[in-house]
Amino acid sequence: MAAPRKLSMKQRYAALTHDLDWDFSYVDNAEAYPYTTFEGIKIHDWSKWEDPFRLTVDAYMKYQAEKDKRLYAVLDSFAQGQGHLSLADAKYLNAMKLFLQGVTPLEYQAHRNFSFLARHLNGPGPRFAALCQSQDELRHAQTEIHTLSNYNKFYGGFHSWHHQHDRVWYLSVPKSFFDDAVSAGPFEFMIAIGFSFEYLLTNLLFVPFMSGASFNGDLPTMTFGFSAQSDESRHMTFGLEAIKFLLEQDPDNVPIVQEWIDKWFWRGYRLLALVSQMLDYMLPRKVMSWKEAFELYFEQQMLGGLFKDLEYYGIRPPKHVQHAIDEKEILSHQVYWTLYQFSFAAAFNTTTPDSEHLQWLAEQYPDTFDTLYKPLWDKASRMVEGGGRHFARALPQLCQTCQIPMLFTEPGDPTTICQRHSIYEGERFDFCSDGCKWIFDREPEKYVQAWLPVHQIYMGNCGGPTVPDVLAWYGLQPGDNGEYAGSQEALDWAAWHTTSHAPAPTPVAGN
């Protein structure tokens, strides 16, 4: 018997993916793929989808297993050596609580919807790429959970992240963002998540968190970041291939794709408001300011690079991009000021910036910080010194689209809250910005269903009428929320670091 012919990588890939595809003789194509026509996108030739990463399942599994092995070795040694004690400060973990509560569940949602695409796209190339991405997203959800679970033994805020993702007010922001994407058609999802989230905005989301981890002694999260990096670059390529494929298939696709870019840029940008305050306020050791990150990862890389390339297809920069650029000097301050006042109802702590931190903020934001925001912190500090740390006393008005409290200001007027509204079927709906109003007005039937945490609390759907009722329903435990100074976490951290005979950290009860 002749020896089997050895195939090249390219041939192997073709044999194991495209060549396994077949045309149906027993069922109509429209019946087999029922979801790829209703959005108005026209695809003439699915074989034109280029696969930049010619991965086969066996190669994929081998790479991922190697990365997992390295990550879990780091997690084990970090846990065994009480590595958490060498973090910059326990306060740093507030950023990771937000990540676990807000981002990890999105990885799982992405896994689910990419696996839907892996079944429902007509072409074998994009189906296989979606299958790989679906597996990546599941692995990311799992490895993030395992990476951060070590901290759950010693610190508050990590124990009920999944439960909280579905219930807590600020987590309705990422949750509703992704619900919007997964309830759209497959092509909009590809632009929403594959392109806008995984390409346009991914560096602004992941680099700050992973660099923050590295600057603040969080070796496990940093290692997770490296382990996810090669997947993320594959996802970016998928997103870029998706948009080019749609634009090249038919000129009628261009205006549809443009509207999706306009919508999902703004949706994603509003979601990143949480990242902006994380960079400027939550990290004890600073990486870069939000303004700097936005200029580098968005203005230079995306507006200066990507959109120049997309011009060829007739695509222009996102509709409300100028508003985002104008907000870079004020965004993080407005967001953290709000979280500071509402952290009694959050699964993380906030605190007044110290003088060194105020100085850094003034240097990073010379045109806005000392004039607009320092006076607020000075007043807050005076109240703290007088024993009256203040919290908000009422629930906030929310934006119907992004679900963030109405904390953003009028373009060009940083002391007046921006108020927009639309009347739909006789009912008033409020928005934080022209971008969010425009998104609602395109598809009001979608956003009138929004589960707005404040409105649901007032309807009695969140555990009861009082603050303790709602916090119990959120799954908050003592020590999870409120002011950081004097918190159990701050006291533990100080005790673990002050004497050489400090008690070894013992796991937090109930976690």
Binding site: P405, Q419, H455
Partner: protein, 108 residues
Amino acid sequence: MAVRAIGEYKFPSSSRQELYGDDQLVHVYWKHNMFICAPSCFRVPKAMPWSAFLSEVVYPVWGQDPDFDPATAQFAWEVDDASISPSGDQSLESLGIGHKSLIVANAA
């Protein structure tokens, strides 16, 4: 523009007034007071008198700001972009304040 969907796409609002019985949601914003980070949302009876609304609902919340003194506070009021001159015994409903109306306070 309608949602492009695989079937009929029609759902009621999750915040519609009827879900609150005789009450409604109202939003209150103290303009230019940056100390209070965002306008507030309240659930209140439509028939609530304006004076009770201020003294029992709004002013206790604004007491978060140590510089606020309800005894001396003077505001010019707007409802949904129109000026109003409320008297204390008028109900919210009679002042034209509807479900999710925006009440803006301009400090005098």
